[in-house]
């Protein structure tokens, strides 16, 4: 509502500047409001920009206020769609007035980045990462690290763990993975957008974690893949459940999506999928849409957009370092979009 009331004077103002001809079009344009996750913001804003060329009668306004806010606002129906980096909990979903659909859009991954002399290519498995983040493995030349990295000279330095201090979907994917490989992590720390970290320092945002890892010799932390690629950070290869060490790439994430078990309601975690070439620390991001749309005109436009996003929009994902949905998942998502009534 807030954004709406802000936008009306804006539209009116632009109408004054653009003259009567354009003003008519501006007032006829429908505005669809959304709010939520920050992680997919770049791809969503690209989609909204491109979609104007497809259908100029509708305009999207997306506020990247965070997944918590996105879930709250769609539950309160103050926005037309929400967005979240984690699937909604059963408790939150139960608060929805009507059936709320999860529409997966793109996937991203977390990478383990580090600061070692010369930054050699490291290989690690899940239990090792858990014990590093538990504060149990404290030296770089620990036998478990040395054994997985033959030929790499690991220094006798302390490992300094850096994690995100702000609540984020990136953290959710990370602890989701750690929980999936370790019962101990699951019971002592658990899953969440913020957790009670057993060890380490907190940095704000990807840039805060990357900044501290870069500055502190011997530091290790996790950042989003897109951020690591753009800033050319060293990324460890991680052992997947098939036993292969896999580099985090868009292909290995799409492979993870293709082999992950995706339930009927699309609320899934895709860490540790069975695929041979799948990178194990990845997660999806979702749009949240009501199955029964109150406003018929808006509902129609929203469905048209969702179809376009899944059919055409997915091809823009890779240029922004997101992994697109594989064809099999896309088909299922399109089927689901068909069930939206308006």
């Amino acid at each position: 509502m807030k954004t709406k009331s802000l936008l009306i004077p804006l539209v009116a103002l632009s109408a004054c500047f653009l003259g009567p001809d354009l003003a008519d079009r501006a007032s006829a344009q429908m505005l669809i409001n959304g709010a939520g996750a920050t992680f997919p913001y770049p791809i969503y804003s690209k989609w909204f920009d491109e979609y104007v060329k497809v259908d100029s009668s509708v305009r999207f306004n997306y506020q990247s206020i965070g997944s918590g806010g996105g879930q709250k606002q769609i539950l309160a129906e103050t926005v037309d769609f929400g967005a979240s980096d984690g699937p909604m909990s059963d408790a939150n979903l139960a608060k929805a007035p009507r059936r709320l659909l999860h529409i997966p859009t793109v996937a991203g991954a977390d990478v383990l980045t580090y600061n070692l002399p010369g930054n050699p290519q490291l290989k690690v498995d899940g239990p090792t990462i858990v014990d590093i983040f538990m504060g149990k493995i404290t030296k770089w030349n620990d036998p478990r690290l040395a054994q997985q990295n033959p030929g790499v000279k690991l220094p006798d330095d302390d490992i300094i763990v850096v994690h995100r201090s702000d609540g984020s979907g990136t953290t959710f994917i990370w602890v989701d993975y750690l929980s999936s490989v370790s019962k101990e992590w699951e019971s002592k720390v658990g899953r969440g957008t913020s957790v009670n970290w057993p060890a380490g320092l907190g940095g704000k945002g990807n840039e805060g974690v990357a900044g501290q890892v870069k500055q502190l010799p011997g530091a290790v932390g996790y950042v989003e893949l897109a951020y690591a690629v753009q800033n050319k950070l060293p990324c460890a290869h991680v052992k997947n459940s098939a036993g292969n060490y896999v580099a985090p790439t868009l292909d290995s994430i799409t492979e993870a999506l293709a082999t992950a078990k995706i339930p009927e309601d699309f609320r899934f975690s895709m860490v540790n999928p069975p695929g041979d070439k799948a990178y194990p620390i990845a997660g999806c991001t979702w749009l949240l849409v009501y199955q029964e749309q109150k406003d018929a005109a808006k509902g129609k436009k929203l469905v048209e957009f969702l179809n376009w996003a899944i059919e055409k929009g997915e091809s823009m994902a890779e240029s922004l370092n997101y992994a697109p949905l594989p064809a099999s998942v896309r088909q299922r998502v399109l089927e689901r979009i068909k069930t939206i009534k308006y």
């Binding site: 997944s67 702000d166 957008t193 913020s194 907190g202 500055q215």
Partner: protein
């Protein structure tokens, strides 16, 4: 008012005067309204925070203030490490900023040559205009590495016998947080102190000189002694800002909710945890606890200010009061 009423009874004032009085009344009421709106704002803020935090208030009660665990997953939430972090980082900031700011203000008003005063003042005010996120990034990439490589090892070897300077050095730490706050509050304390020192009457100085005081004695007794109360007010203004500083502090303090004696250990502040976790807080109790953190911050700020006012009443003498 009573006097004025008595006068009107005796003799009706000329029409023009009545009109002006009516204008005065309007002016008085309007300004009273604006003044009251400050109270209303504070009360509303307090009410909204209390309303938002009722779930957490109900669930944790007073334990919230004493709890030192912050676990959003199991919803065991306590504010003590954040209260500790806020108070300690602000105290460090004041310890550094107060001598620096007052010395600068004294130089600017008493000692600096005329041509230097204006440009120097301008620079100090420019420092206040640096956005805190910029200062925070500078903190991560420039200040923290320098502290880790140079200042902290030096402190550790020199004062390592104190528990304050023991333990591993990461760079990001309570001390780094305090230093960045100090940088942010120096401009405000300096500007206000300078205005106060300027308003010390010239007669004060002349009288002291006439008694044969040296320049140092004039500054210490006639100027600083006279302006003591006002300078204290300037410090309080700085403290208010220090308690609420968020972004830059978050970037260098290490964001770890723990209570450690060492200033090299990372800490966390009330304002930082709200900024960090509010957007992604999905459960009701968790969100409510963050509201309560806000309520605690408001409470801490009020308490510290009241304590400072009491301190001023007890130890402050007569003299110039702060202008703003």
């Amino acid at each position: 008012m009573a006097k004025a009423a008595a006068k009107t009874e005796l003799q009706a004032p000329p029409e023009k005067l009545v009109q002006r009085r009516w204008g005065d009344a309007v002016f008085e009421r309007t300004s009273l309204l604006t003044a009251l709106s400050v109270f209303a704002l504070l009360a509303l803020t307090g009410y909204e925070l209390a309303h938002g935090s009722r779930l957490a208030l109900h669930k944790f009660g007073w334990r919230f203030l004493a709890g030192s665990e912050w676990n959003p997953v199991s919803e065991q939430l306590g504010a003590l490490p954040f209260i500790f972090g806020t108070l300690v980082s602000s105290a460090i900031a004041l310890l550094i900023a107060v001598p620096l700011s007052i010395a600068t203000a004294v130089y600017l008003t008493e000692l600096a040559p005329q041509w230097l005063r204006q440009p120097l003042t301008l620079f100090i005010e420019l420092l206040a205009a640096v956005p805190s996120v910029i200062l925070g990034l500078w903190g991560i990439y420039v200040m923290v590495p320098w502290l880790r490589e140079h200042l902290f090892p030096l402190l550790k070897t020199t004062f390592g016998f104190l528990p304050l300077f023991q333990g591993p050095i990461y760079g990001v730490s309570m001390l780094a947080g305090g230093i960045i706050i100090a940088i942010m509050i120096v401009p405000i304390i300096t500007s206000v102190s300078r205005e106060i020192l300027r308003s010390v009457p010239g007669l004060q100085r002349e009288a002291a000189y006439a008694l044969g005081a040296t320049r140092w004695e004039v500054t210490r007794i006639a100027v600083l002694g006279y302006a003591k109360k006002g300078l204290f007010g300037a410090v309080i203004l700085g403290l208010g800002r220090a308690l609420g500083e968020t972004m830059a502090v978050t970037m260098v303090i290490g964001n770890t909710p723990q209570i450690k004696a060492s200033l090299f250990a990372p800490g966390y502040t009330l304002a930082s945890v709200i900024a960090n976790e509010f957007t992604e807080a999905t459960t009701d109790v968790y969100l409510s606890a963050l509201f309560e953190i806000g309520l605690v911050l408001l409470g801490v700020t009020i308490l510290v200010n009241v304590a400072a006012q009491l301190l001023l009443k007890t130890f402050g003498g007569p003299g110039v009061k702060p202008q703003n």
